[in-house]
């Protein structure tokens, strides 16, 4: 177990290093010049040169990367070019909001996806099944901005069940999480459906039926846990998928997460922030996969044995 953990830690570190290196390279391949973005339109060439020097942008790429890595080992994510403040603090201030949103989004999509997938599998071929499959397509092909506004318009403006914007209470998280979860729920419904159909054909389900159990018990106690494994593998992947959705959803609902920070940073070529957000989200993805790997054996004892 210790070995396994160590191994995962080293792997995680290597992946983060790789992500950092690629991101760094890509950002410097960009034709846009951060010094000029900071200097603004009235700046003289001298001002731009000064800023470039102060930011260390006039050093060779490798030296810059090395300096960045050195900072990282000290837990220092650098200073934002545009905001002139510590990136770590900026991200730390906004990360909890995004994590809450993501967790809630995953909760919604898994719950919705499981529910729809299970009833579709149980009613395979019937009208319920067809409706669910149709709904999952609506979810998958709904542009998130429109979905977000639509939900906001119906549930916050017209019905006034939830606040339109902001952060803090449970009511605030419902609409953003639902928006975020709709797309994923479509995918999950499909995955769960096909996994469930497969599991319902297994011998042990027949055994359960031979015991005279109720269908609810057969579906939820016997079949569902077995169908859950692929879903858990998906959750790890999802965190990465969520990143772009988070930008849109946070914008619409005024959610103070890192999506907005990242978006503005990209517009301004604020490299330290982009790097910071990238690394944090990479870490979240790796951790997400780790969590998936930890949950899997809880559900499937066979994996525990391996």
């Amino acid at each position: 177990m210790i070995f396994l953990l160590m191994r995962r830690l080293v792997q995680t570190a290597l992946i983060l290093l790789g992500v950092a290196a690629i991101t760094f390279l890509l950002l410097y391949a960009l034709p846009a010049d951060p010094a000029r973005m900071i200097a603004g339109r009235s700046a003289t060439a001298q001002t731009v040169a000064n800023i470039r020097h102060e930011l260390g942008l006039d050093q060779p790429l490798l030296a810059q990367f090395w300096a960045y890595l050195k900072g990282l080992t000290e837990g220092n994510l650098g200073r934002s070019y545009a905001q002139k403040t510590d990136v770590g603090a900026l991200i730390a201030a906004r990360l909890p909001a995004t994590l809450i949103l993501m967790a809630a989004g995953i909760f919604v999509e898994v719950l919705l996806g499981l529910f729809l997938g299970v009833i579709a599998a149980v009613r395979r071929g019937g009208p319920v099944d067809r409706f669910v499959m149709m709904a999952s397509f609506v979810g998958v092909s709904a542009p998130q901005f429109v979905a977000a506004l639509l939900l906001l318009y119906v549930f916050a403006v017209t019905l006034a069940w939830f606040p339109m914007s902001g952060f803090g209470t449970f009511a605030h998280v419902v609409l953003p999480a639902t928006t975020l979860g709709i797309l994923g729920a479509g995918w999950y419904a499909r995955m769960v459906r096909s996994a469930m159909i497969d599991v319902l054909n297994q011998d042990y389900v027949r055994t359960a039926r031979a015991k005279g159990l109720s269908s609810a018990r057969i579906v939820f106690r016997h079949a569902l846990p077995n169908a859950l494994l692929p879903v858990i593998a998906m959750i790890g992947i999802d965190i990465g998928q969520f990143m772009s959705g988070v930008v849109v959803v946070e914008a619409v609902y005024g959610w103070p997460g890192i999506g907005q920070l990242a978006w503005q940073a990209i517009q301004q070529v604020d490299i330290p922030i982009i790097m910071g957000v990238t690394l944090v989200s990479a870490l979240a993805i790796v951790l997400g996969n780790l969590v998936a790997d930890v949950i899997a054996p809880l559900i499937d004892p066979r994996i525990r044995a391996r």
């Binding site: 010049d33 009235s42 930011l55 609902y253």
Partner: protein, 515 residues
């Protein structure tokens, strides 16, 4: 006009987060007006107008040669940390803005002060041209006459800050601002809201009018508008998105909500004079006649007027009688044929990628197609467009929308140097036409040397002529002068001018609540 009332709390929303409130660094239109209100400067403007007035300065004198400016400070003005503002604070603040270590974008504005080059070059850390003989006197010595210098002392970069607070903040002054302005920052929850409260000790009586304003950031304009209609928000800082404009305008409460005012803005297309075939003046002139500006103002829901010269109508020096190039497809075609392009040519039109800019680019594209010019539209992130514009030989045409010039201060010279003068036509510059006319440059320098306030009207006329003459060479296609649209709740009082202040965006000092 409603009578001004004191008191009241209001809520204002913006989409973008507030990057910084450090006056030496902040340079975007959202934090611009907040910085204005947090700090005070030697000079300021009468709210809602482009008229300069002394502010921290009680009085000032300009020497006849225009090279020495002497300011007497108001007595008893206090920073919000309790210390009195003295002359050395002014010197410190301007030196700080110029110091390369600050990485501020505004250093260039102070280029006329003696010793500027030594500081930016790193040879010195103090400006030779600022002297403080006593606590209430500041004397500026310039290396060349600069007619805009009083304006320079009114821009944010000249805001006065207390040294001890800057040092105490240890590099985070932008988040812990201390000034002597109308408001004090009370709370800043990153990514969510900033709360400003009135400075009870502000040195002008009954300023500001409101007690408190809360800025909520990260608010999608469309949602902000819905909230405003529900009464949760008082000012939607980003205005009314096109998708909602017609609906709101035609709604019964529309007139109460919409504030629509002219600003110092011109939207234009740059024609890169160093790229074929735009090196040919006939081509540039022809394209000036090819664009149907009426359609573009219609796309903008009528929130703009057609432009024919670089200066916006509100700017001193604007030539009302100038007609520029009229829309005339046939003439444009003829001129193109004359220039050797009877069948047109292919080119690229850059634009930023935020609505409505790509749409306007497409409208331009269609008009160009009508005269045979096939333009490929490239809608990119702003940073990339700016990079392309500043790279020689890269971008043949750029639609300036989204990055367009809004003046830093209401003086025509602000519309020339970086964007049309030779100084801007360099790698990384903002003169995306790469237009350099030595003759006009000389006339511009001459005009800026006319620093005698008595010659102000004459100087404006000189500038005006420069901008109309430039149109003969047609480095731009001036397209529109956009008006600014802000949405405010009916409880907000005051004329439109203070919501679309020409030198600020929203003048928080002057707005008030009616109920």
């Amino acid at each position: 006009q409603d009578a001004i009332k004191q008191g009241g709390d209001i809520v204002i929303t913006y989409k973008d987060d507030i990057a910084t409130l450090d006056p030496a660094i902040g340079y975007d239109w959202v934090n611009w007006s907040m910085i204005k209100s947090l700090y005070s400067r030697l000079m300021d403007y009468t709210p809602g107008t482009p008229d300069l007035i002394p502010s921290l300065a009680e009085t000032y004198e300009v020497s006849p040669d225009g090279l020495t400016y002497t300011f007497k400070l108001r007595k008893g003005v206090k920073f919000t940390n309790g210390r009195e503002v003295v002359a050395s604070d002014v010197k410190y603040s301007i030196e700080r803005a110029v110091d390369p270590k600050t990485q501020g974008p505004g250093a260039g504005f102070f280029g006329a002060i003696k010793g500027f080059d030594a500081v930016t070059g790193g040879a010195s850390t103090t400006l030779e041209g600022i002297a403080t003989p006593d606590d209430s006197t500041v004397i500026f010595t310039l290396s060349r006459p600069d007619a805009t210098f009083l304006h320079v002392l009114a821009i944010n970069f000249a805001s006065v800050v207390p040294k001890e607070a800057v040092e105490a903040a240890a590099g985070d002054f932008g988040k812990k601002p201390v000034g002597s302005g109308t408001f004090v920052l009370k709370e800043w929850t990153v990514g969510q809201r900033l709360v400003f409260e009135r400075n009870p000790d502000y040195f002008v009586k009954d300023m500001p009018h409101i007690d408190k304003f809360t800025v909520e950031v990260g608010q999608e304009p469309l949602v902000a508008l819905l909230r405003l209609q529900k009464g949760e928000v008082d000012i939607a800082g980003d205005g009314i998105p096109p998708a909602k404009f017609v609906e709101i305008k035609n709604s019964p409460e529309g007139a109460d909500i919409i504030v629509d005012g002219a600003q110092l803005h011109t939207g234009y297309i740059t024609l890169n004079t160093r790229v074929k075939p735009f090196d040919n003046v006939k081509v540039r002139q022809a394209l000036n006649m090819a664009i149907n500006k009426e359609r573009i103002t219609r796309i903008l829901n009528g929130r703009a007027t057609a432009a024919n010269q670089p200066l916006p109508p509100l700017m001193p020096g604007y030539d009302k009688s100038f007609t520029g190039y009229a829309f005339d497809v046939e003439k444009a075609k003829a001129l193109l044929a004359e220039a050797g392009f009877p069948d047109g040519f292919e080119t690229i039109l850059y634009s930023t990628n935020t609505d409505p800019q790509p749409r306007i680019a497409q409208a331009i594209q269609q008009d160009l197609a009508a005269v045979g010019v096939k333009a490929e539209v490239r809608a990119l992130a702003q940073a990339n467009v700016i990079a392309a514009g500043g790279t020689e030989g890269e971008a043949p045409m750029i639609w300036s929308g989204g990055m367009a010039w809004i003046a830093d201060f209401p003086d025509p010279s602000n519309f020339y140097g970086p964007i049309l003068g030779c100084a801007g036509a360099v790698q990384g510059g903002w003169n995306w036409s790469w237009y350099c006319n030595k003759d006009l440059d000389a006339r511009a320098i001459a005009a800026d040397s006319m620093s005698d306030p008595a010659k102000a009207t004459e100087r404006q006329a000189v500038w005006g002529k420069i901008f109309t003459d430039i149109m003969a060479d047609a480095p731009w296609i001036p397209l529109t002068n956009e008006r600014r649209v802000v949405a405010k709740s009916p409880r907000m009082g005051g004329s439109g001018d203070i919501y679309v202040d020409p030198t600020r965006v929203i003048n928080y000092d002057a707005i008030f609540v009616k109920d």
